[in-house]
C-alpha cells in the first residue's frame, strides 16, 4: 500500500464531500435525531430492574456513536459505484495506482466523517445531560472504536460495491445487515435485560465489541481487560475485512 497514493485518494474524496453541503448536513442531523428520538422513546428502560445505568441518555450516547458510524459507512461503496458507472474506476485500475491506497484513501476519508459525527453525538449527548466519569481516555477510545467501525463496514460496503456493481444491491445489502447488527447488540438495551439469544448473537457482533469498549472506557472504573480485548477483536476484524475488500478489486477486474 502506497502512502502517497493513500494521501492523494484521501484528498480527492475529502474535497468531494466538502462540496456537498446537503450531504454534510444530512450526515450530521441524522445522528442527532437518532440520539434525541431513541433517548426519549426508551428513557423508561432504565427503570427495568437489572438495567445497569441510571441515565439512559448517558447509556445511549456511545451506542448511537457506533450506530452512526455503522449506518453512514454502509453508504461508503456508493462512491465506488459512481466511479464504476463512469469510466473513473477503469482508468484508475489501468494506472499504476496502488490498490491498497485506492481503498485506504477512501476509507480514511470515510473515517474522518465518522470522527466529526462522533464528536457531534457526544456534544448533543452532553447538552442532553450525559456525563461520564472516565475522562479523556474514555472519549479517545470511543472515537477510535467508532472510526474502526466506520472503516470496517466502509470496506465491506466497498467490497459489495465492487462485487455487485449496482447501487440498489449495495443499499439493499447494507440495510439488511446494519439493522440486525444495531439491534442485536447493547447499543440501546443493557444486555442484563435483553433475551439470552440476543446476548449470544451480540458476542459475535463487531458493533457490540465497539459499544462495550466505548461504554467501559467511559465508566468510572472501567474493566480495562474487557476494553482491550474488545478493541483487539475490533482491530483484527477491521484489518481482515480491509484486506479482503482490497482483494475485491481483482474480482471486479476479472468481470470487466
Amino acid at each position: 500500500m502506497s502512502v502517497a497514493h493513500t494521501g492523494l485518494v484521501f484528498g480527492r474524496w475529502t474535497r468531494a464531500s466538502y462540496r456537498q453541503p446537503a450531504l454534510i448536513a444530512f450526515t450530521l442531523i441524522q445522528p442527532a435525531i437518532w440520539l434525541l428520538l431513541f433517548g426519549q422513546l426508551f428513557q423508561g428502560v432504565v427503570r427495568i430492574p437489572g438495567f445497569g445505568d441510571s441515565s439512559y441518555i448517558a447509556f445511549l450516547t456511545p451506542g448511537i456513536v457506533m450506530m452512526t458510524a455503522l449506518m453512514t459507512s454502509g453508504w461508503s461503496g456508493t462512491a465506488f459505484i459512481q466511479d464504476m458507472e463512469r469510466g473513473v474506476m477503469d482508468r484508475l485500475l489501468a494506472s499504476p495506482v496502488s490498490r491498497g491506497g485506492l481503498m485506504a484513501g477512501q476509507l480514511l476519508s470515510n473515517a474522518s466523517t465518522t470522527l466529526i459525527q462522533t464528536i457531534l453525538v457526544f456534544a448533543i449527548g452532553f447538552a442532553a445531560g450525559a456525563r461520564y466519569d472516565g475522562g479523556a481516555g474514555g472519549y479517545l477510545i470511543t472515537i477510535v472504536a467508532s472510526m474502526l467501525i466506520g472503516t470496517a463496514f466502509g470496506s465491506l460496503s466497498n467490497a459489495v460495491a465492487l462485487l455487485t456493481r449496482q447501487q440498489e444491491a449495495l443499499i439493499g445489502i447494507s440495510q439488511f445487515v446494519s439493522l440486525p447488527l444495531t439491534f442485536m447488540s447493547s447499543i440501546m438495551i443493557d444486555p442484563a435485560v435483553a433475551p439470552h439469544w440476543v446476548n449470544v448473537a451480540a458476542r459475535y457482533n463487531p458493533v457490540d465489541w465497539a459499544t462495550i469498549a466505548a461504554r467501559q472506557s467511559l465508566a468510572a472504573s472501567p474493566d480495562w481487560s474487557s476494553v482491550w480485548r474488545h478493541s483487539a477483536y475490533l482491530l483484527a476484524f477491521t484489518l481482515i475485512v480491509g484486506w479482503l475488500s482490497t482483494r475485491a478489486f481483482r474480482t471486479y477486474q476479472r468481470s470487466v
Binding site: 502517497a4 497514493h5 492523494l8 484528498g11 480527492r12 474535497r15 468531494a16 462540496r19 456537498q20 466511479d83 458507472e85 463512469r86 469510466g87 473513473v88 477503469d90 482508468r91 484508475l92 485500475l93 489501468a94 494506472s95 499504476p96 495506482v97 477486474q253 476479472r254 468481470s255 470487466v256
Partner: protein
C-alpha cells in the same frame, strides 16, 4: 525495443454465463499489431470485441489465452510497466465530476509519480492545449459532453504515455465536438509520434483518423490494412438498387447476377447491393433488365467503394445491419 508498439497474438476471452445470459465468447483468437507512431483504428459494430481487446491490452482485464505486449512489455507479467507506458481513455467519461478539470489532471499526474509542481505545470499545459484553460477551475459536472471528452483525452496524456488507447472517443458527441476531437487526435499522432489504438463504430471516423485499420467481427480481425488499400482491394464499384417490394423469392437477385460484370450481391430488406466492374456500364444494364420484367424500382445508385463495402466484403453484412443486430 521491437518496431511494434503493440502486439496481440491469438487473444481469447469468454465471459461466463450470467442470469438469463449464455456465456459470451468476446474474443475468438484476435491477433493484431500496431507499428510505432501509427494510429490503428479497430473498426467493428457494438459487441464485436473492440472494448474487450482494449481492456486486455490496458491490463484492466485478462485474456483466457493468448499473449500481448504493449510498449515492449507483457500485459500479464509486466503489468506495472505497461500501466506506466500507456494512457487509457475508457468508453465512458473517466473524470471525477465533483472535482475541477485542473484537480482531475493534477491527481492523475501525481498518481503517475509527478511532483505537485510538475503535475500542475503539465495539467495547465494540457488544459490550454485542449481549449479548456478558462474552465480548469470549474467542477467537471458543469462541463458539456464535448468538454468532458477532451478532458478525458487530456487525462490519458498527463504522464506522456507511449501508447494511447481511445475507446470510442466520439460516441455521443455532436458533429462539431466530434470534428474538434478528431483534429486533436490527428495532431497527437502527427506531431508527437504517439502510437494510438482507437476503437470506433463510425466508418467516417476510422477513415479520417486511422493510418491502419483492422476490421473486427465476432472477436476476430477479418481484414487489415490502410483504409486506401482496403478500399482498392475491392475491384470496381458498388451499385445499390432499392426496390418498391422486397425481393422475397430471390428472382431479382438471379436476374442481376446474370448480367455481365456483376459480382456478388447482398440483399438487405428492399435493397440489393452489387459489386460491379464498372458502375457506368452496369447501371444501364441493371435498369434495362428491371424495366423488361416490369419490376418497380425506387432508386439506383452507384458509388466508389467505401469502408462500408470493405466491411460488407469481409463480414458478409453491411455495417448498419451488423450494428442493428448487436
Amino acid at each position: 525495443m521491437a518496431t511494434h508498439a503493440l502486439e496481440a497474438v491469438d487473444l481469447v476471452k469468454t465471459y461466463p454465463a450470467g442470469r438469463k445470459k449464455p456465456p459470451l465468447r468476446a474474443l475468438d483468437g484476435l491477433t493484431v499489431s500496431v507499428p510505432e507512431g501509427v494510429v490503428l483504428g479497430l473498426l467493428g459494430p457494438n459487441g464485436a470485441g473492440k472494448s474487450t481487446t482494449v481492456k486486455i491490452l490496458t491490463t484492466l482485464s485478462r485474456a483466457d489465452s493468448g499473449t500481448a505486449r504493449v510498449a515492449g512489455y507483457d500485459v500479464v507479467r509486466e503489468q506495472d510497466r505497461v500501466r506506466r507506458a500507456i494512457g487509457y481513455v475508457p468508453q465512458k467519461s473517466s473524470s471525477d465530476p465533483m472535482a475541477t478539470g485542473l484537480e482531475n489532471l493534477v491527481l492523475s499526474g501525481r498518481i503517475f509519480g509527478l511532483s505537485r509542481q510538475d503535475a500542475t505545470g503539465r495539467a495547465t499545459e494540457l488544459l490550454e492545449r485542449f481549449g479548456l484553460a478558462e474552465h480548469g477551475g470549474r467542477a467537471v459536472k458543469t462541463y458539456s459532453g464535448g468538454m468532458q471528452r477532451k478532458l478525458d483525452v487530456a487525462l490519458g496524456l498527463v504522464h506522456q504515455p507511449r501508447v494511447l488507447f481511445l475507446d470510442e472517443p466520439t460516441t455521443g458527441l455532436d458533429p462539431e465536438a466530434r470534428a474538434d476531437l478528431w483534429n486533436e487526435v490527428l495532431r497527437l499522432s502527427g506531431q508527437e509520434g504517439l502510437t494510438v489504438l482507437l476503437t470506433t463504430h463510425y466508418l467516417e471516423e476510422a477513415d479520417r483518423l486511422a493510418g491502419q485499420l483492422a476490421i473486427v467481427d465476432h472477436g476476430k480481425i477479418v481484414a487489415e490494412g490502410t483504409p486506401e488499400s482496403l478500399k482498392s482491394a475491392l475491384r470496381g464499384d458498388s451499385v445499390q438498387v432499392e426496390l418498391v417490394d422486397p425481393d422475397t423469392d430471390g428472382s431479382v437477385r438471379v436476374l442481376l447476377r446474370q448480367l455481365p460484370g456483376v459480382g456478388e450481391i447482398v440483399v438487405e430488406g428492399n435493397t440489393l447491393r452489387a459489386r460491379v466492374d464498372r458502375g457506368a456500364t452496369a447501371v444501364p444494364a441493371v435498369l434495362g433488365v428491371l424495366e423488361d420484367k416490369a419490376i418497380p424500382v425506387v432508386a439506383v445508385t452507384v458509388s466508389r467503394p467505401s469502408l462500408d463495402d470493405v466491411y460488407l466484403q469481409h463480414t458478409g453484412r453491411s455495417f448498419r445491419v451488423a450494428e442493428e443486430a448487436a
